[in-house]
């Protein structure tokens, strides 16, 4: 225990180790909070990107905090739903003939330097036979009123401003997203800042008939992490990618180190044909193509991350490290205290686990920690090749989506940079810690 404390104090003398530990701590905190605040089922549903979950998100736009760094403020998504938004004022006026006037007034601010790229009004009405009628009016900050449309509304109509040709013609050939927001007669069009109003003057023909409408103005920036081509918020895969990457790397490295160590110890201790078989398997393993086998299994069988993890471990436990461990065990086997243990009649298992293995742990731990990034990147690499887990949101899949959709070519750098930065951070944290541990546990390297 005291030795462990000393070792820890020793580690803190290395700035690289402290840096690595701090990053790791932050990552673990983020991972745990991700799992608490976005439960697994919700994360999966968000990542599956069902229409109902993501329809209010814009398509492939950078995160909202980009606005802090640019002088030109890009519009942020605004979603105003008449059901619950305080920005909507509702006036209901029933008439004696069974018809009702329902007026919904949407009031919102627009303080951006660019136009919204897309605007949709999602209606949700109830009626039996005769559909309600709605007149859409638009009031700009300078008080001008524009007639947008007069339409009969079906149960769930999506009114897309840009696709209304009549409106476009009325706006002088300008598409609605620009025409409704521009300073009058500006050319090229300049956005007019201020408070806008959209009025829906509805008329229903049945007593129980209702009109609700959700105005969605899709921004050019969105949320903390931006969105992808399927309108999914990238925050989900970025946050959920942390626990997945950490656990994949940790389990793979830990499993391979421990099993590899046990195999080498057993081989050295029993010697003879057991040792011979282990060495031959190691050599066969070196001939086997590691990555192609993983790719084949992913292509032919199943792309589940846990299967990949299992195959990775299976193909690596007889890897090069068995040879290294073997060389060290061969030396330890000859030491006097092992001789003493044999003399007092210790069992084979006792000698392997209490005499051989503890001696090699200082060598194993730094290698284990430094080995984690390799597996974290392996998981990402498989995803980049299109063999990512079909269900789980991971960083590699985000990069894969980005490159499949030409993110770099289209200048959508955030899409690649966000998962890449997290990957690099994770890799570097473990590497820095591992390298420092190596120097603490193997003082020979320090002197050299």
């Amino acid at each position: 225990m005291k030795a462990l404390k000393n070792a820890f104090r020793e580690i803190l003398r290395y700035p690289a180790a402290v840096g690595g530990l701090v990053i790791l701590f932050l990552l673990i905190v983020a991972a745990i909070s991700a799992m608490i605040f976005i439960p697994y089922d919700e994360a999966i549903s968000l990542w599956r990107g069902d229409e109902a979950v993501v329809y209010t998100n814009p398509k492939a736009v950078p995160p909202a905090w980009m606005n802090f760094f640019t002088s030109e403020k890009l519009p942020v998504t605004q979603v105003i739903n008449s059901v619950d938004s305080p920005k909507v004022e509702r006036v209901v006026e029933p008439h004696s003939d069974g018809t009702t006037d329902i007026t919904l007034t949407y009031t919102f601010d627009f303080e951006y330097d660019r136009f919204y790229p897309e605007m949709v009004l999602y209606f949700d009405t109830t009626f039996d036979t005769k559909q309600p009628f709605v007149a859409i009016r638009w009031v700009t900050p300078d008080g001008t009123e524009i007639r947008v449309a007069d339409i009969g509304v079906d149960r769930s109509l999506s009114y897309r401003f840009a696709q209304d040709d009549k409106l476009t013609r009325r706006l002088g050939g300008e598409v609605a997203e620009i025409g409704l927001f521009k300073v009058p007669d500006s050319d090229p069009p300049v956005p007019q800042k201020g408070t806008y109003q959209m009025r829906l003057e509805g008329l229903t023909f049945e007593p129980d008939s209702t009109i609700e409408a959700e105005l969605v103005m899709y921004g050019m920036v969105h949320g903390l992490a931006g969105t992808d081509h399927l309108r999914r918020d990238l925050l989900t895969p970025l946050l959920w990618g942390i626990p997945i990457a950490l656990s994949f790397g940790l389990v793979a490295s830990l499993g391979i180190s421990i099993l590899g160590m046990a195999i080498a110890a057993v081989g050295v201790w029993y010697g003879g044909w057991i040792d011979e078989v282990i060495q031959r398997i190691t050599e066969v393993n070196l001939v086997l193509p590691f990555l192609p086998i993983l790719i084949m299994i992913g292509t032919f069988y199943n792309r589940s991350i846990w299967l990949m993890l299992g195959v990775t471990i299976l193909l690596s436990i007889f890897g090069g490290q068995v040879k290294q461990n073997r060389a060290i065990f061969l030396q330890i086997k000859e030491t006097t205290y092992v001789e003493a243990a044999k003399a007092y009649g210790a069992s084979d298992m006792r000698i392997i686990f209490l005499y051989l293995i503890p001696r090699i742990i200082p060598v194993i731990i730094p290698a284990l920690v430094a080995g984690i990034p390799g597996f974290v990147f392996l998981e990402a690499a498989l995803a980049v090749l299109g063999l990512g887990d079909p269900v789980l949101p991971t960083w590699g899949k985000v990069i894969n989506d980005a490159s499949n959709n030409g993110a770099l070519f289209r200048g959508l750098y955030y899409w690649v940079l966000e998962p890449a930065a997290l990957l690099a951070l994770t890799g570097l944290a473990f590497a820095m810690l591992g390298f420092s541990l190596d120097r603490v546990f193997n003082p020979r390297l320090r002197e050299a």
Binding site: P292, M296, T299, A381, L385, V416, L428, A448
Partner: protein
């Protein structure tokens, strides 16, 4: 196949029974070693064949594909319109049988797997199932030969540059141990935990997407330049980013490894002795440090060379480099077992041969080592 090459690989010879006379002992040893390595190759290749066929599972996929393709072919063909449905289905099943026969699917997989093994081991690589070379050939040999030069050019340049520059820098650092440069480069070694394809994405982002200085990927401009000089210049331009990515991902760790290794050797008594005698620095480096570490340098170099085979699947994919790695990847995607097995068996042979010859090279360059005696 991106085999991680550790700079300090210590290829150890198998401990041998002590036998009496010199040359007989060596012959015995060589024979034993060859048999062992050959068995290793056999087992490795057979396992690859089993995996590449998923233990026969790929047969079912292929059968399904054949059935679908031929049924469609018969349906679409106008000349068969006059046939009765029975005659047509008979024709379809006959054609399917012929096609299955052509691909050898009518034999049980267990038997076929051994035929595959024999063909692979005798380097009779046969014909691919789906892939074709750019010249239209289906011969696996030609497909491999066509993809080999791009891989050799790219990874040959990268790895040789990497190997010699890290050796040179490491030697310089080990002589200036503790200097600022030494500390800086050692401090940078965790950067090597990031793989080349990942640096590749960053480099493409900076130099191709943002600055538009260099191409996103590929090997030459499209269409390829007419003149040889133009072709070479275009090739070089496309090579800059992948070579740089490859170097970045390994050089710091390689320097770290070699430097530590050289440091251990430069603290030997005979080096101190030579220093006191007034041997010049260059002489000291060449004769007193490099010479005794030659076996390790050769080992590392040998592994660098065989690591060239197969290129690197992901780096080639990221840079869209038409090399062996990409061919390997496409072959898997097309269930093209012959190509997969072909590339693997050549790798296995190269690996085994390298292992075999290393023993002799050791004995040649290091008088303390004798062929057949224990390595350590």
């Amino acid at each position: 196949m991106s085999t991680e090459v550790q700079p300090l690989v210590n290829a150890e010879a198998t401990p041998k029974k002590k036998s009496s006379s010199g040359s007989l002992r060596i012959l015995q040893y060589i024979g034993f070693r060859l048999v062992l390595l050959f068995l290793t190759v056999v087992v490795g290749v057979y396992l690859t064949i089993l995996i590449a066929n998923m233990g026969g599972f790929v047969d079912q996929i292929m059968r399904g594909q054949i059935r679908e393709r031929i049924t469609l072919q018969v349906q679409m063909n106008r000349t068969y319109d006059t046939l009765t449905p029975e005659a047509r289905s008979k024709l379809t099943s006959e054609m399917i049988a012929v096609e299955e026969d052509r691909l050898g699917l009518n034999q049980p997989f267990a038997i076929r797997s051994f035929r595959y093994l024999k063909n692979a081991l005798t380097l009779d690589l046969g014909r691919s199932l789906n892939m074709t070379s750019d010249t239209g050939s289906k011969q696996v040999r030609l497909i491999i030969l066509e993809r080999l030069p791009p891989t050799l050019v790219l990874f040959g340049a990268s790895n040789l540059l990497l190997f010699f520059s890290s050796l040179y820098i490491a030697l310089a650092l080990s002589r200036k141990y503790g200097s600022f440069m030494d500390k800086l480069l050692i401090g940078l070694s965790p950067l090597s935990s990031v793989p080349a394809w990942f640096y590749g994405i960053f480099l493409i982002l900076i130099f191709a997407a943002m600055l538009r200085w260099l191409p996103f990927g590929g090997m030459v401009d499209a269409p390829p330049p007419e003149t040889t000089i133009g072709y070479i210049l275009s090739l070089l331009k496309h090579m800059i980013l992948p070579v740089f990515a490859w170097m970045l991902s390994s050089i710091f760790l390689n320097i770290y490894g070699w430097r530590t290794f050289f440091l251990i050797y430069s603290s030997e008594d005979y080096v101190e002795m030579a220093k006191m005698k007034g041997v010049t620095d260059r002489e000291l480096e060449r004769k007193y440090i490099l010479r005794p570490t030659l076996p390790n340098i050769i080992t590392a170099f040998a592994f660098v060379l065989i690591g060239l085979w197969g290129g690197a699947i992901i780096t080639e994919t990221v840079f869209n480099w038409p090399g062996l790695g990409q061919a390997y990847y496409h072959a898997v995607g097309l269930y093209d077992t012959p190509v997969v097995v072909g590339i693997t068996v050549i790798y296995a042979y190269l690996y085994a041969l390298t292992f075999f010859f290393l023993d002799f090279i050791y004995a040649l360059v290091d008088p303390r080592v004798k062929v057949g005696s224990s390595g350590n």
